[in-house]
Symmetry: C2
Subunit: 375 residues, 2 copies
Amino acid sequence: MGHRLDDVSGPARLAGPEEGVSQEELALAARNHGMPLEALRYDVTPPGLHYVLTHYDIPYTASSSWQLTLGGRVRRSLLLAIADLKAYPAVTQRVTLECAGNGRALLTPRPVSQPWLVEAVGTAEWTGVPLRMLLAEAGVEPGAVDVVFTGADHGVERGVEQDYQRALPLDVAMGGEPEVLVAYGMNGAPLPPQHGHPVRLVVPGWYGMAHVKWLCDITVSDTPFTGFQQAVAYRLRQGAGDEGEPVTRIAPRALLIPPGFPDFMSRTRVVRPGTVALEGRAWSGHAPVTGVEVSWDAGRSWSAAHLDGGSGLRWAWRPWHLDWTATPGHHVLSARATDAEGHTQPLEQPWNRGGFVNNLVQRVPVLCLDPDDGT
Amino acid sequence: MGHRLDDVSGPARLAGPEEGVSQEELALAARNHGMPLEALRYDVTPPGLHYVLTHYDIPYTASSSWQLTLGGRVRRSLLLAIADLKAYPAVTQRVTLECAGNGRALLTPRPVSQPWLVEAVGTAEWTGVPLRMLLAEAGVEPGAVDVVFTGADHGVERGVEQDYQRALPLDVAMGGEPEVLVAYGMNGAPLPPQHGHPVRLVVPGWYGMAHVKWLCDITVSDTPFTGFQQAVAYRLRQGAGDEGEPVTRIAPRALLIPPGFPDFMSRTRVVRPGTVALEGRAWSGHAPVTGVEVSWDAGRSWSAAHLDGGSGLRWAWRPWHLDWTATPGHHVLSARATDAEGHTQPLEQPWNRGGFVNNLVQRVPVLCLDPDDGT
């Protein structure tokens, strides 16, 4: 005997100094995907281009037979089919969603996990029922502190077999800013399988780990939730034994649409001399974005970009633009967002063992060709 | 001076013996994505789960202003808007599409390029106009040998700036078996941006490099096409200086839906003892799949699976299934497809410098837990 989960499920670790990306990390990269950065051009990310991260498998779920239970410390439990959810007044919100591990693969040392560069982001129009409306109907009892959400995705992580579960503090779950949604629609259609079909949580302004997909149960608890994804994963730790701070809201980030055209293999961008229109998006889960600066000299100097939008879509990314006069040579472009609470992006990596909340400024290497080069 | 494309665009190379996946390869893996293998359960791959490979950027294209030109060695050139294409009788075909580089990252030595494992596949219903109908209307002149297709995607590869271009021999372009489509619909909707919006080529049975996306020009040529993607890339070479054979039709492959549930990081599958229903899909671009065998002892012995379907969908994958009695311990599952022309999958890697047409059998490590383990 002796065939146990620990055989295939080891502890978290950091990559060694010269260690390339492993086949295990590559297996995650091949199935989860980022948003190709040229898709920053869309206000709402087209289907299939929005980033996706699933810890385990995408479960095979049928909308017609789905049941969402709501229980725990409530006066009356609810059993909700999708049709029941649709009978409530629908709320639609445009929300920019980002993975808490975005940027991880650029860290030194590199935490071994889903190896994101900077593209784990996307924006969608989510439609559903406000969570606070369902909680009000069930009637939250005194003493409740956390609301626990369970998805239908099942797997093992660091030796622990589990359904994916995350909790929100009661005040966040009951609050209206942000308006937490029990969502059954994405961009006017049913949720695709990989985005939580038929129902998921959407917590505007929070990193993706809070937006539980394939949502099958909501339980109000009078004790703080200590499940794996809350107490072990998704915490900011410097040392392996630290308790760590929980990962919550999205730190500000600006990304630019890589200008010109790419080399297939190096992904270096190529432009020709002259005016290059730089544009991109910026967002923050803490407060509205109030400024974006752009650098074309690898962060030595910065110029203020023009912020567009600001149309009251609080939880969606904001477009920005700035012209750059490209001269022949090698350049590194960057953009840096700042929000109304003064949060901004660091120029040195904000390292932690999980590689979370890493909003180091993007670096886009660009070659500007000599005037006489090419066609 | 001296800022030229060669600065950022090097020659093809093989990874060193201990070389992990590089950040450049990871950048390709983060934007291109495979089909999560649990999606083998769907006859038609849902939007966003079908594999995607784009050499350069996804171009920003508008259906309303799109124009497809057809010229060269024809009696009269055609200028076709999307509405013009839709005025022809529409043909819909269910087609399994696979990247020619599928399996590349598993090779030893590993060609440095898009690092696919085995998941670069998907099946869609493509709707469009038969290419031979458009060629007949234009009137192909005597002496024509190749039909060249140009996409709107633009970039650099191995020092060569280019629009993506591929050709088909005239007999393939004019043939009805397979029926080559100029496609404007995918699964009953307009093409998504990453699949060639608004129009692409679909060449059933051929690897993905032939299915030119963002198709803007068709030129009939009386000389063999020698563009980069035909004469340099997508050839089967053992040595860097070989002329090599061109990559054309899809070699047979069977994949199984990984059973049980995964460990997040190792991606090893976990099952409990007893009957495990194994199922998957198999396809070949040469001839119909006639057999699938399954192994649960790392390829030492094989059992015939039950082939389902066979409903006349010649260009779509075929489902298969077989029960396995899992016993505690570590196992490696594999499946192997054979087609009506006797092509089958090798048990040793079919290596070439580009990592193309690698249909080595899949290996799925599975841990079967002890009966008393877990919950």
